[in-house]
Symmetry: C2
Subunit: 414 residues, 2 copies
């Protein structure tokens, strides 16, 4: 059987990950994490990394079968353990300027059917151990990138009625299209896309709105923006001086909300895939920035448990704008993968904020970020609230408003 | 195609690795390193680890294609880099009592044809970075084990005239036989084998020989033994209180020579596979413990370069006795893998000694070990000097001798 994945486009994806996603610097080490089933993309990325002058490329693979063996056979104490030694090592590497590339493609339903209590404990232990490394990533100490690979398990979930071969081919094509490698000049395509996103966030930064007001079916929510917030999107300059495109694909323009200033209620517009479970029909009510009521038509308890992770889990850490006509939204595919699904829709995130979404954010201490309204949590979970029926207004400091989106599309002239 | 590897014996190998090799303790974390092509064995080992009550099992996979991409595409500076962050993390895990399991099975010829200068630089950088973790392993701070998996590239090297499927099946059978899992009670078989090895080293420890004298074709060598040396073989008690079988298979009884007391010359009896090259027809002459002359009919320069790694590389770190009739020797197979080939023959090792081959070795400082004649180096390279034509005498402090081996077989009555 020949692979249903176009080898030329796969190679271009590897090139885009290194040249656009990371803009890997000469002599820079690279740490990759990936599911074992994504090895073909890891190899293309590794080649492009060395061609670009990488120091050493090290890949840490995960294996779904090994993960499931733990749930099947391990005794109780195992589920509070984590590979702290590995994450501490990664943090050390980042402090020495190693770049970070994650390949997403794990079976989104891998943990479906496992004891949710054990899943939640294992996730919590892992998050706590990963935190020091994650802070160096989200704080943009180094250039980083996430890119996807169409693994068979993921493809069969997205296209359940197709054979594995057809499903992998379809998911590969969707990934290549969304990642802008289905053309002769992917690097040029990303330059144009970054310029368009920059025009949007430049306009938003000029406005300095105090809040955003969302109205639509089941939604009447005002989200205050953090003091000194900064809108971003597309390329980002890391503290090490490298401009990277952390997410491939990306369609969003986003910033940090004020963790104490969300009021009203909001309804989810797409299912949220979380650790192998789909949460559907989401509804949340906020008071003083805190999520005080959560309902869902499916897996309500599971999400409520997530919200109990820590105090910050009930406050907002991100607000992101995505036009309803964006390519991923237009594909009509539910990817069961945040990297894709969040880029199909306006979304908000519970939990940790991005330090870099503040003016001068790279220099701010965690205490300063908190004082300006930034949120802190072990989690960062995006959920989709956009649709073609959502209007969004920017609220000025004097209470006056002006249109940001109408019917899910950009309303500003740039 | 069904796998040519017997799944029942593979599972038993996984069980032996955990129950005999590591004797993994309840709640103990485990770090596995393995080539990606050995994933089927990693999965069996992971299952048995969790069944035995493991904390968290973490596998670090290597990928031959990624390694080769470095040699093909990386620029010069890459070859002095190493994943120090990963090894530092491992050392930290060992200090927190994680056990260590290495799966050997890499293509022994992987680096054949690469620039030897780059290979040597990369190996040196890697050894230096790995050293702190390796010292915790060789010092038996924790229980550890090496076991093998018949990867296709390795199998085709050992059985070049067979198809890949046949070759993998043959190598699998040889591994299963040598690892004593080709029977109904592998754990019982290992108990009996450990008892036999223990009888040999108990006799040798009782004798307290000052030196061993080797005579045979092309060999007339006297190797002084370190002060307070201790013979070992089979099972070992680690400092964490766990008794492990570090090598599976193992046939050797071994101890630490005195690094300043080897005199005479010795001829290799089997080819040595080193980083993808075969060194053949080895001859070495020692004066005052130092290797002062080295010749080989093939790859002499390569081994001379290895001997230049550091001063300790020219001194002995191990002396090991293996009967010529041992199962691996009897198989007649050249495995191109030290774990197997060293167990086919009496051997010596250039470089680092094992601290545990001293009385009270677990408590000795590096300085004390050196004062007693122990050697220190970044390398530890075993080479084979045994055959059915080798006689070995134990030399007492008063110069009298008594037979240890005759015609390559044990000569003591135990
Ligand atoms: Zn987002
Ligand atoms: Zn987000
Ligand atoms: Zn040995
Ligand atoms: Zn050895």
């Amino acid at each position: 059987m020949t692979s249903p994945i176009d080898p030329d486009k796969l190679d271009k994806l590897g090139q885009v990950a290194i040249k656009v996603g990371l803009q890997l610097a000469e002599g820079q080490d690279l740490i990759i994490t990936a599911p074992m089933t994504a090895a073909p993309l890891v190899r293309r990325i590794t080649e492009h990394a060395y061609k670009a002058g990488a120091g050493l490329v090290t890949t840490i693979y995960s294996d779904e079968e090994a993960t499931l063996a733990r749930y099947k056979y391990a005794n109780d104490q195992s589920f509070d353990r984590s590979a702290g030694w590995l994450y501490a090592g990664m943090a050390e590497a980042f402090r020495n300027n190693a770049a970070r590339l994650a390949i997403s493609g794990d079976n989104p339903m891998m943990l479906a059917g496992q004891d949710p209590e054990k899943v939640s404990r294992a996730m919590r232990a892992n998050s706590a151990a990963y935190r020091p490394a994650l802070e160096l990533i989200t704080g943009f100490d180094i250039n980083w990138n996430i890119v996807s690979y169409p693994t068979p398990a993921w493809a069969k979930l997205v296209f359940p009625d197709d054979s594995e071969e057809i499903a992998v081919g379809k998911l590969a094509d969707a990934i290549f299209k969304a990642s802008r490698v289905d053309n002769d000049d992917p690097i040029g395509a990303w330059k144009a896309h970054n310029a368009n996103l920059k025009a949007r966030w430049t306009w938003l930064n000029g406005k300095r709105f105090s809040a955003l007001k969302y109205t639509g079916p089941g939604t009447d929510l005002t989200i205050g923006l953090a003091d000194g917030h900064r809108w971003k999107g597309g390329a980002s300059e890391a503290k090490n001086g490298v401009t990277c495109n952390p997410n491939i694909p990306t369609e969003e323009v986003f910033t940090t909300p004020h963790r104490m200033r969300a009021e009203g209620h909001v309804s989810g517009t797409k299912p949220l895939s979380h650790n192998g479970s789909l949460i559907e029909g989401m509804y949340a009510r906020f008071e003083g920035g805190r999520l005080v009521e959560f309902k869902a038509s499916k897996n309500q308890d599971l999400f409520n448990k997530v919200l109990d992770t820590d105090e910050g889990a009930r406050h907002l850490g991100e607000v992101a704008l995505v036009p309803h006509s964006s390519p991923i939204s237009a594909s009509g595919i539910l990817f069961y993968n945040t990297l894709y699904d969040e880029n199909a829709s306006c979304h908000i995130a519970m939990g940790q904020c991005y330090a870099d979404c503040f003016e001068g954010g790279k220099e701010l201490t965690p205490e300063q970020i908190q004082a300006q309204g930034g949120n802190k949590s072990l989690i960062h979970i995006d959920w989709m609230i956009g649709s073609d029926k959502i209007d969004i207004d920017g609220v000025n400091a004097d209470g006056s408003t002006e249109p940001v989106m109408r019917g899910g599309e950009w309303a500003m002239a740039v």
